[in-house]
């Protein structure tokens, strides 16, 4: 197993390199950070020239990528604009753990920018994922056991309605009903935006109450996909011979469903969840924006709109590493769930 993991990690290195090249070149064509710094007016030509040079944006894309990858402390940079390198570079590159500094929040290290937001995203997304998995398992198993019953049809219909609705609509609607209208009607109401009320502070109660609407919005649209998937895999497993054998042996229904059927039905579900988990790090872009949740999704959106390449690359590479890592973990969980699988 250790050999397998080591082999997979080694394979991941060139993969991550290729991903970084593609992302960097795409990102460099996404917009103009100097234009985004102008405020409400067009950037002055003298400022554009100076900032382009100072931020290293005057270099060819390949050179900018190399600096991002291995740093520029081995060469000099032109600080005063006379065309001659006069000062040693200070960047170490990501292979030496330096993700650079943000162009928007000038001087702030990318790792610090991301570290501030990552916990907030994990709080929101892990809570949402737990709600989604638990809810979808309950609905999926229930629907599979009572296929074509009235309840199954109702659940299916509601799932698809939820799945069909854009998340911004659900988010704004729930905010308006539970935040605005409930307050207007004199009922207990939920907060509309933010992670906590600044007047009160970041208490557990505050974070929990501010999480309700975002988690509800994320969960509602995800229930459908997960529950339908669980339903179909459960139906497939329930029609297998070994389940019939288990029934013939007179095993209790609960044991058949949860021990024999669900464990085997979990294999493809684990794949889906395994692929979804690393994406949680990226946050929920729309939900975080609407509910002003200070997470990674909003960070990504804020900085991509200002063409802040170092921060955006930091986020994307974090997700890429997480995807690769979780794929390895998924493979290991496979072996645990299905003893027939061996990684030798």
């Amino acid at each position: 197993m250790l050999r397998f993991i080591f082999k997979r990690v080694l394979q991941a290195v060139p993969l991550l390199f290729i991903i970084s090249v593609i992302l960097f070149f795409l990102m460099m064509n996404m917009g103009d950070p100097i234009a985004a710094m102008a405020g409400r007016n067009i950037t002055r030509s003298s400022d554009r020239q100076r900032l382009t040079r100072q931020l290293g944006l005057d270099k060819p894309i390949v050179v900018q990528y190399i600096f991002w990858l291995i740093g520029n402390d081995w060469t000099t940079v032109d600080q005063d604009g006379d065309g001659i390198g006069d000062t040693n570079g200070t960047r170490h590159g990501i292979i030496r753990g330096d993700f650079g500094t943000s162009l928007v929040n000038r001087g702030r290290p990318v790792t610090e920018v991301i570290a501030q937001r990552l916990p907030n995203t994990l709080i929101l997304m892990v809570a949402s994922e737990i709600v989604i998995i638990v809810g979808a398992l309950a609905i999926g198993v229930y629907s599979a056991l009572r296929q074509y019953s009235i309840v199954d049809n109702v659940i299916t219909t509601i799932s698809f309605v939820g799945y069909s609705m854009p998340i911004f609509f659900i988010a704004l609607l729930s905010m308006y009903i539970f935040g605005v209208l409930f307050k207007r009607w004199g009922l207990p109401y939920l907060p509309t935006v933010g992670m906590f009320d600044p007047e009160i502070g970041k208490t557990l109660g505050q974070v929990l109450t501010h999480m309700i609407l975002p988690v509800f919005s994320i969960s509602l649209i995800s229930f459908a996909a997960y529950s339908r998937y669980i339903r179909s895999t459960m139906l497939e497993v329930l029609s297998q011979d070994y389940i019939r054998t288990a029934k013939a042996k007179g095993l209790p229904k609960r044991e058949i469903v949860f021990i024999h059927a669900l464990k085997n039905a979990s294999l493809p579900i684990v794949t889906v969840v395994g692929l979804d988990l690393p994406l949680l790090l990226g946050g929920a872009v729309v939900t975080e924006r609407i509910f002003a949740w200070p997470g990674m999704g909003r960070l990504f959106l804020d900085h991509v709109s200002r063409a802040d390449t170092p921060v955006v690359m930091g986020i994307l590479m974090l997700i890429a590493v997480a995807v690769v890592t979780f794929q390895i973990i998924t493979d290991i969980v496979y072996a645990w769930l299905d003893p027939r699988i061996r990684y030798e």
Binding site: T43, Q116, G179, P191, T192, L208, I290, R298
Partner: protein, 546 residues
């Protein structure tokens, strides 16, 4: 059935419990007067040298101050100086090359350190030092030398007479006693902690916390040297979505919101919020590319541009799209009556006259395809702007109205950072679209403009030029250069009036609607007044009712 009942009961209990929890939390605010402003964009930097962002520099009146600020009528009043320099009080030399400022002697940083002329000199030096990647070196790059003959006097010598000094100088001062050691140690202040956490300031409040993506909290400055503020704490809450901002204001999760869309005004008013509009010098308008190499050849003819001005029903557009809450600007200097003098009169909406002008210019529909043409060239224009919803609506209306006078328009929309990218990358700077739309204005409340200078036309050799209209009108160019050096206001008024007249007659720019700052203010906020330059200028007078 029993299971369903249990499930329903649990769900109900969870929902009620969460709402009661929210209700309990909401009541735990305490006795402090706390004001919450909703900002739809988060600050990039709180160091005034490192930002051009409106949402950042507007906070300066909270934790910093400007040397002079501007009131509701956008008139300047002294803040850090004993009086605003003028030729009458000897603050400005006869040749306009030297400004002498006398500082208040009671100013202190929030850590108790006296604020002196040294801080001003240090600020100007840091702005132009090539080691610092400041947002803009302007206007400090116009200074030849700056000295502090005593702790409370600053003498500025300009390279040339510098007319826009009042509107552009000293938008905040940075603390020399904190940042000079950083500069000496690191050779730059780019990475200074103070830039993003200026816990030492000299405004009525001082930064307590800036939680990225969430909020910034300012508390009373115990060493504040001005009038005591009424409010204890100020929160800037970052809510990036416009619809969420409206909901948050309605729900009372914010007291003040800004950049309110005109379409949201009625619903906010119905919810009891006051709407305040304050001219900020900006007007939404059309910019024409007028050049033989770039742009459509028809736009070279002034009669064609006048026809376009008369072919668009701008009045109806403001009434229908903007609910009649703003006006059609006749001049680029519409919100500066001193310079829009004599006031320009708008072109009327007159499609018949527009068609006649186009006929006169030789643009007729010779092939019967519904689009005018001349010498085998079809009158088909490209019209680009950013993806902002109101702009896309305006594009659709203008496309339809110009079609009615035989002008075909292809509408194009871009993300702002792409649209405003530099020559070679951005469609606007590269002359790829014939008509461009955005909101802009002079360096308000100053009248200075520079975009139309001939020397600013971008090219392969000078890709950073800001004359994206590729227009070189020598008469206009000379007047723009002249006014920027005229420190005598009467002389300058005359020059700007001539520029204004040229803009109007030659239709170099066509205003669509005035674009004032629109604020929504909760009923519990008292004494709130806004300026178009320093919006929070009277923040110490703001109060909250019970």
């Amino acid at each position: 059935m029993f299971r369903k009942a249990v499930l329903f009961r649990w769900l109900s209990l969870i929902m009620i419990a969460s709402m009661l929890l929210a209700a309990c939390q909401a009541g735990a605010g305490g006795e402090k007067k706390v004001l919450t402003l909703i900002w739809t964009q988060e600050f990039d930097s709180l160091n005034p040298l490192y930002t051009n962002m409106w949402f950042s520099y507007v906070t300066h009146q909270v934790f910093l101050s400007w040397a002079w600020e501007f009131d509701q009528q956008n008139n300047a009043f002294p803040k850090m100086v004993t009086e605003i320099p003028s030729t009458e009080n000897g603050g400005i030399s006869e040749d306009g090359m030297t400004i002498t400022m006398h500082l208040r002697e009671d100013m202190k940083w929030s850590d108790g350190t006296p604020l002196t002329a040294d801080d001003f000199v240090f600020t100007a030096e840091m702005a132009v030092n090539s080691a610092n990647s400041v947002a803009s070196t302007y206007p400090y790059d116009n200074i030849a030398s700056i000295t502090a003959p005593d702790p409370y006097t600053v003498v500025i010598n300009f390279i040339d007479p510098f007319a826009p000094w009042l509107a552009t100088l000293w938008h905040g001062v940075i603390p020399a006693h904190i940042l000079r050691p950083v500069f000496e140690a690191e050779g730059t202040i780019d990475g200074a902690e103070w830039n993003l956490a200026p816990t030492v300031g000299f405004g009525p409040y001082v930064l307590d916390t800036w939680e990225s993506g969430s909020f910034a909290r300012f508390v009373r400055n115990e060493n504040w040297w001005g009038e005591e503020p009424n409010i204890d704490e100020i929160f800037f809450r970052f809510v990036p979505d416009d619809a969420s901002q409206v909901n948050a204001l309605k729900a009372g999760d914010g007291d003040v919101g800004t950049f309110i869309a005109f379409s949201d005004v009625p619903t906010l008013q119905e919810s009891g919020l006051s709407i305040v509009t304050e001219p900020s010098g900006y007007n939404e308008g059309l910019f024409f590319v007028i050049n033989e190499e770039f742009g459509h050849p028809a736009l070279l003819d002034v009669r064609v541009r006048q026809a376009i001005a008369m072919g668009i029903d701008r009045q109806s557009m403001t009434e229908d799209l903007l609910l009649g809450l703003t006006q059609v600007p006749a001049s680029f200097w519409d919100s500066l009556p001193f310079y829009n003098n004599p006031p320009i009169e708008n072109y009327p909406y007159d499609p018949a006259a527009a068609a006649a002008l186009l006929d006169e210019a030789g643009w007729v529909d010779s092939n019967g395809d519904g689009v005018r043409d001349k010498d085998g060239v079809e009158f088909e224009l490209t019209y680009g702007t950013t993806i902002r919803e109101i702009r896309q609506n305006a594009q659709a209306v203008i496309q339809q109205q110009l079609a009615e006078i035989g002008i075909a328009v292809e509408i194009l929309s871009y993300d702002a950072d792409i649209f405003f990218s530099s020559y070679g990358d951005g469609p606007a700077a590269s002359g790829e679209v014939d008509i461009m739309e955005w909101s802009d204005g002079p360096i308000f409340p100053d009248a200075d403009v520079y975009y139309w200078l001939c020397s600013e036309i971008p090219s392969d050799d000078y890709p950073d030029g800001s004359n994206w209209f590729f227009l070189c009108d020598q008469e206009l160019n000379d007047l723009i250069e002249l006014q920027s050096t005229q420190v005598n206001s009467a002389d300058r008024q005359q020059s700007i009036s001539q520029i204004n007249q040229i803009f109007h007659e030659r239709v170099y720019w066509l205003g669509l609607w005035q674009d004032p700052d629109v604020w929504a203010v909760a009923s519990r906020v008292q004494n709130a007044q806004f300026s178009g330059v320093t919006p929070l200028y009277n923040i110490v007078e703001w109060d909250l009712s019970e």
